[in-house]
Symmetry: C2
């Protein structure tokens, strides 16, 4: 763990048909005060309010695919951002089919936006870098679902090496050398000698990562994209008693999600997108944990910190 924020708030973890207890898919990821909204099922704006999330700080929205339980909340959220006086551009990443639909809806409801929507289209040809700044990068990767669908990988960028000031003094290296040292380069000292970087610095915290896989059939092809992430969200629409149904509908069971987590050697797994046919998540948890111990339920309102 390093000092920078990296936390995930679950806004919805139900499947296509929401229940009174469970909203459709939506999550809010905060990496170093960048707020990424991941999927935007119906009533996501209400969920943001309920959990006192900072709606207007969201500048990037990522939509996996065009099933309604993953984007029907978008028009309402965009309208509300407008009503609340938003001026900052909003970047939306998703299938190219999303833009015309949102535009038709906004136009029909006469919701003229005073802020810019910047559209970015995902594709399903391998890992696809969508966003990058000095701290974070976000990529999409293909998932196998009934229709075109991608997952998203959120990665913290490598942190600068940690400077040991005592060692700088000892080796007579001036502060002017610090930028080079942070990057991992060697330094010159006051005597004109080269001092190896590893004598003056220590390793920074390991960059953290989060992968989001919803909706998808159980597919080992996803493993290379999500390998070794700190946190994996993988859909678990069904229990093993419905493995056949899961395959037919291009969804996964809790056991399959756990198996992917294990194979990808992730640190922690959270599961969600539960079918409304199940009243409780107890069996989801026990089924997944029997294959992958460090599993949690993506309960609405929970925050997962990395």
């Amino acid at each position: 763990m390093n000092g920078q924020t990296f936390e995930l708030l679950i806004l919805g973890s139900g499947a296509a048909s929401p229940t009174a207890k469970r909203n459709p898919s939506a999550q809010l990821l905060n990496i170093v005060e960048r707020y990424f909204l991941i999927d935007c099922g119906e009533a996501t704006q209400m969920q943001l309010r309920r959990y006192k999330a900072k709606m207007q700080k969201i500048n990037h929205i990522f939509i996996t695919h065009m099933h309604g339980d993953h984007f029907y909340g978008l028009p309402g959220l965009l309208s509300t951002m407008q009503l609340l006086g938003r001026k900052n551009p909003l970047h939306i990443f998703g299938p190219k089919e999303l833009r015309p639909v949102i535009e038709v809806i906004l136009e029909a409801s006469e919701s003229r936006l005073n802020y810019e929507l910047v559209w970015h289209y995902t594709h399903d040809n391998g890992l696809n870098l969508l966003f990058e700044d000095d701290k974070v990068k976000v990529s999409s990767f293909p998932l196998r679902h009934r229709i075109y669908c991608t997952g998203f990988l959120f990665q913290e960028k490598p942190l600068p090496r940690k400077i040991n000031m005592d060692k700088l003094k000892k080796f007579k290296v001036s502060a002017a050398e610090i930028p080079k040292l942070k990057k991992g380069l060697d330094a010159h000292n006051d005597l004109g000698q080269i001092v190896k970087n590893n004598k003056l610095t220590t390793d920074p915290a390991t960059p953290r990562s989060y992968a989001y896989c919803s909706d998808t059939i159980s597919d080992r092809g996803v493993v290379p994209y999500i390998e070794n992430v700190n946190l994996l969200y993988h859909e678990a629409t069904f229990l093993s008693d419905n493995t056949k149904r899961a395959k037919q509908t291009f969804h996964s069971t809790a056991k399959q999600a756990a198996s992917i987590a294990k194979r990808a050697n992730v640190q922690k797994l959270i599961i969600g997108h539960f079918s409304s046919r199940y009243d409780s998540t107890v069996r989801f948890l026990s089924e997944a944990r029997s294959s992958f111990r460090n599993t949690e339920i993506a309960e609405e309102g929970l925050t997962f910190k990395i």
Copy 2:
């Protein structure tokens, strides 16, 4: 009050920007087991679940206008009805602009419906009969808002006259005459004489009615359409301290809603569509009641019986 059901369930009573406590506009009216959904703001399907309403019994949906807080919940509701196996046709009444929008959304999200959507368009030229069966009729009427908008009037049909069996015996009128008597016609008795209807029957309960007015500027032009209804819902987006703002945005204040109720001589008024700028409804109620005593707040989850 007669023995037939006539009750209104409030599903949402917020204005354009929903809050954690208040959903956008939606109501479910049950008249003699006909379930009419009136407006369908975002998360209406969740509200139906929350209040254990019978979603699949809804066969008629009425949409006032194309602002998002009145129809953004429709695509999700239609998809869920499909997922739950609906077969019965669903009638949707609203502006003609609604159909292409809903069709684009359903098509984009690959929500093929196995039941028929039957579209009926409202118009703003006076009272417009939209639906009629043996018990109920529903009409739209024009409202004055920023965009095209109609209200809806739900009316129970006149009930048959009540037969007094003792009087039938006394005047020697046979049971075969009852159908005529129920309609208000006179009867022949066993002696071939005419017996006046009013000697054999009593008045039935007065047919009940409900009018829905959202969204609208304060407009006396609406009075002829809603005169003498048992229950009036009138929007009250603002308090009187924002009368100017109400006018600018083509909305009403609580005082104005009460004034319309009084002028239209309605029995009871409920107000809603409260702007999210107000934390509480206490002042709405006191402001309205100072002009029209029999006012209530359209709180979510409340049922109003007529």
